[in-house]
């Protein structure tokens, strides 16, 4: 949802020629993401314990033996965080790819063909877009039942309208441009116009949207997982672990909730920074005043 606002902002800046300096964002973003990705990829090698096996060492505070402490079942939280990253990334990447794969072609067609279908589609997409995304995802996920694929599908539905809108608008503009009109006049086939003239023009925007969208869907995934709609135990997942730690909060077991949350935020922030940087990099028209 926030992505929508960033897009408005992005377009606004395109129009007004505002911008910020800074490849710093890209570097910072990658600086967070690369270690995180390595960590999750290498989880089998570096994780000190089996994340799903409990032990008698329950509710141990962080120590050299357990960097992030243990939970009420005696599972090692550090290992769970390492492995949990895999679940988060899988859900998020599958869902973002899925929603892009549906939203972009629909937006292209809708914008290019126009007419009644376009208006109907735009209306449906707008109504989904206007509705609180997380609530929609909850409704869908509760129907589908908790599983990684189901959660990815539920999140994908929420973000399809974002891609649709981000594709349809520019497509409408491009179609009206002399450049495309000329192509149409020369009798170029629709397919060629779309793939040669429209899509390449959209690519920078879509890349940025994709990155920022990933950042946003990490939070949505965490929200769904927090509410119990993504994994069943003992599969480690950050949002789920955060929820599992919540009952222990009034008794003061801070480490159960602190670490999973920090990782959710880091991952989302990493993509957010990257998106910001890419935004600038890929928008050559921008100047700083």
């Amino acid at each position: 949802m926030v992505i929508g606002m960033r897009i408005i902002d992005y377009l606004l800046r395109l129009r007004t020629g505002l911008g910020y300096p800074g490849k710093g964002f890209i570097i910072a973003g990658l600086g967070i993401l690369i270690p995180l990705l390595l960590m999750t990829l290498l989880a089998p090698l570096i994780s000190p314990y089996d994340p799903t096996k409990g032990s008698r060492d329950i509710l141990q505070p962080p120590s050299p033996a357990h960097f992030f402490g243990t939970n009420n079942l005696g599972q090692d939280l550090f290992s769970r965080i390492l492995w949990g990253g895999r679940v988060v990334l899988t859900v998020v990447l599958v869902s973002t790819i899925l929603s892009a794969a549906i939203g972009v072609p629909l937006g292209l067609l809708s914008g290019y063909l126009g007419g009644k279908i376009d208006r109907a589609l735009a209306m449906i997409m707008d109504s989904i877009y206007a509705f609180p995304g997380l609530i929609l995802a909850i409704a869908l996920a509760s129907v589908l039942g908790p599983s990684i694929i189901n959660a990815a599908a539920a999140i994908a539905v929420v973000y399809i309208p974002t891609y649709f809108r981000m594709t349809r608008g520019p497509t409408l503009q491009l179609k009206a441009s002399q450049y495309v009109e000329a192509a149409i006049a020369t009798g170029a086939p629709t397919k060629r116009i779309i793939f040669r003239h429209i899509l390449p023009n959209l690519a920078p925007t879509l890349t940025v949207v994709f990155t920022l969208n990933t950042a946003d869907s990490i939070l949505t995934e965490a929200g769904l997982s927090f509410l119990g709609f993504v994994v069943t135990p003992p599969t480690p997942d950050w949002g789920f672990d955060l929820k599992a730690g919540q009952p222990f909060l009034p008794a003061g077991y801070w480490w159960l909730i602190t670490f999973p949350g920090i990782f959710i935020i880091l991952l989302s922030l990493g993509f957010g920074l990257l998106g910001e940087g890419l935004n600038e990099l890929l928008s050559p028209k921008e100047k700083t005043i």
Binding site: L73, S142, G145, G228, T232, P233, P234, Q246, P247
Partner: protein, 572 residues
């Protein structure tokens, strides 16, 4: 923006105006209706001493419930401004809900507890025991080998507004339950054929067949006589007129507050606490904070294990602990591969370590349970412990080997749980069970979950291989812990598909025998067969915990799990 073109502007403007008016009107309509639900009698709240004024205001109690749309602007007086002296008030916090104040439809433990304080049955349990003693009926007779029961009522019983309670009221109330046929009605309809008033103070029940535990049934809310104000043909969910119990309802705001005051016409010993306020909290965290901050005097159901543990260290609070009648168990599907193999089921029973569950999942707030009949109830035997021990990995391996499973050919199981209905320890329970079963090295467990309604639906359709469930008794008798699970005509809800003619026969015979010792022999035999066939594996039995301020006295809990507010008092 082409859409509006064809429409004339005036129509559209009219449309918007209508929408806005509807929205505003809807908001206010909802607002006032919402308010109306609070059946508040301000005057009662202001009465500090219970004298004749109460009888006058009671008229108001019964009339306000008919005028539910009246906005209660009169609620300016609040509990704080009219608080009576400390000795006469106790505030209890719960996370449960009162679902339905009508005993013809209420079918959950907490509502039953409230009903048991504002109503009374013909018989009741002696506090702290499971022994049945006279209540509205002072004595009874059994005739026709247990098929006819005659109750002789006390002559001084009155409802909370002074209306005398006679045999007609008993008959009216029970016939009402049978007619409305609400959720708990089966407790009456499955057993009672006819109920009639022989005279003003004699009630005769004719049963369909002899029922040895009929008294235990009569002690349940569907048998409670209710005030004539209850709608005779329909469920009366927000009815506050109550029955002839020690307390009466003076204020009821759903999911927020229930205020009880002493029923001045109660025939028995009057409660020591004038006013009991029950506050409904959203979750265990808020309940815990409420008792810690002194907002409430007693924290009742249900605190989390971790909270009970840490509240034990609070010097201002007392933690009371008694065995409860709540049991947890797993149901094994006897019709589905591979749990249709008895050896597999036995191996699972052997591998489970109940002490580990009690410690790690429930932090010692439960007891290991080795039979479906709870600990402390007559006929209970630790059948599973005798046959399998606890966490007996070796035996489990042997049994699995016999069934043809080994490290290369692992037994694959699906374990289901439901994440919210049994509280947030449920995911932990599933994980620990998985761990224990996998400790054999021969089993691979996949955990699955479904929300409550889906879970019930799958269970009824027999789609779950292993599922986790819990049981609160309807009536305190071994029959209620065995028949619903094992009798092939009663256990379809378990989805286990278990059927054993011998068990059916034993249970049927035990139900009609009147001698407890004789019945116990049947039930012991059933438990032994249970441990052999293993359609269900008992896991743990809940304890009841109550956290209260140090100077609250009279907290008596027992396996009926009904907390009796009328026994409470302030020490000092």
């Amino acid at each position: 923006m082409k859409i509006g073109k064809g429409l004339s502007t005036s129509y559209i403007v009219l449309g918007i105006v209508l929408i806005i008016i509807a929205a505003v009107a809807g908001y206010y309509a909802g607002l006032s209706a919402g308010k109306g639900v609070q059946v508040t009698t301000t005057t009662v709240l202001q009465t500090v001493t219970q004298t004749k004024t109460i009888t006058e205001t009671l008229g108001a109690t019964t009339t306000t419930q008919t005028t539910t749309t009246t906005p209660t602007q009169t609620t300016t007086s609040t509990p704080t401004t009219t608080t009576p002296a400390k000795e006469t008030k106790i505030v209890i916090g719960v996370t449960d809900k009162v679902t339905d104040l009508d005993p013809a439809n209420a079918y959950d433990f907490y509502t039953w507890e409230v009903l048991s304080n504002i109503m009374e049955g013909l018989v009741k349990y002696k506090p702290g025991t499971t022994q049945i003693v006279p209540a509205i009926a002072e004595r009874w007779e059994v005739k026709d080998n247990g098929k006819v029961w005659i109750f002789y009522l006390r002559k001084d019983v009155k409802f909370a507004d002074g209306t005398p309670l006679t045999a007609k009221d008993v008959v009216r109330s029970i016939e009402r339950v049978m007619r409305i046929n609400g959720d708990p009605a089966w407790l009456v309809t499955s057993f009672v054929d006819k109920v009639e008033a022989l005279d003003d103070y004699t009630v005769k029940f004719t049963l369909k067949k002899p029922v040895s535990y009929f008294l235990a049934l009569v002690a349940t809310p569907p048998y409670f006589p209710v005030h004539p104000a209850y709608n005779p043909d329909q469920v009366d969910s927000d009815q506050t007129a109550g029955g002839a119990g020690p307390y009466k309802i003076v204020k009821w705001v759903r999911d927020q507050e229930l205020v009880l005051e002493v029923n001045p016409y109660y025939y028995g010993e009057k409660p020591k606490i004038q006013k009991v306020i029950i506050r409904f909290y959203k979750d265990a965290t808020t309940l815990r904070l409420a008792i810690e901050n002194g907002e409430i005097d007693i924290a009742w159901r249900t605190l989390r294990p971790i909270d009970i543990e840490s509240l034990k260290n609070n010097p201002n609070l007392q933690v009371i602990e008694v065995p409860g009648a709540f049991i947890r168990y797993m149901i094994l599907n006897c019709q589905m591969e591979p749990t249709n193999n008895k050896l597999v089921r036995q191996a699972i029973a052997a591998a489970i370590d109940r002490n580990d569950i009690a410690q790690r999942v429930f932090m010692g707030t439960v007891e290991p349970l080795y039979s479906l009949v709870p600990i402390g109830m007559w006929s209970h035997i630790d059948v599973f412990k005798e046959k399998y021990g606890d966490g007996n990995i070796e035996l489990a391996k042997q049994l699995l080997a016999k069934a043809g499973y080994n490290e290369n050919n692992k037994l694959k199981l699906e374990l289901w749980y439901t994440p919210t209905h049994y509280g947030d320890t449920e995911a932990d329970l599933a994980q620990v069970l998985k761990e224990q079963l996998e400790a054999t090295g021969v089993i691979e467990v996949t955990i699955k979950s479904a929300e409550w309604t889906t879970y019930l639906d799958y269970t009824r359709k027999g789609m779950l291989m292993i599922s986790l469930y819990g049981w609160y008794p309807d009536y305190i008798d071994p029959d209620d812990y065995l028949t619903p699970f094992l009798h092939s005509e009663a256990n379809s809800w378990t989805g286990s598909g278990y059927s054993n003619p011998e068990v059916d026969k034993l249970l049927d015979e035990a139900a009609v025998k009147t001698d407890q010792n004789e019945r116990a022999k049947y039930y012991e035999q059933v438990q032994k067969i249970l441990a052999e066939d293993v359609p269900i594996i008992p896991l743990i039995q809940g304890k009841l915990f109550m956290v209260a301020k140090k100077d609250v006295g009279g907290i008596i809990l027992d396996p009926t799990m009904l907390f009796r507010y009328y026994l409470l008092y302030w020490k000092s």
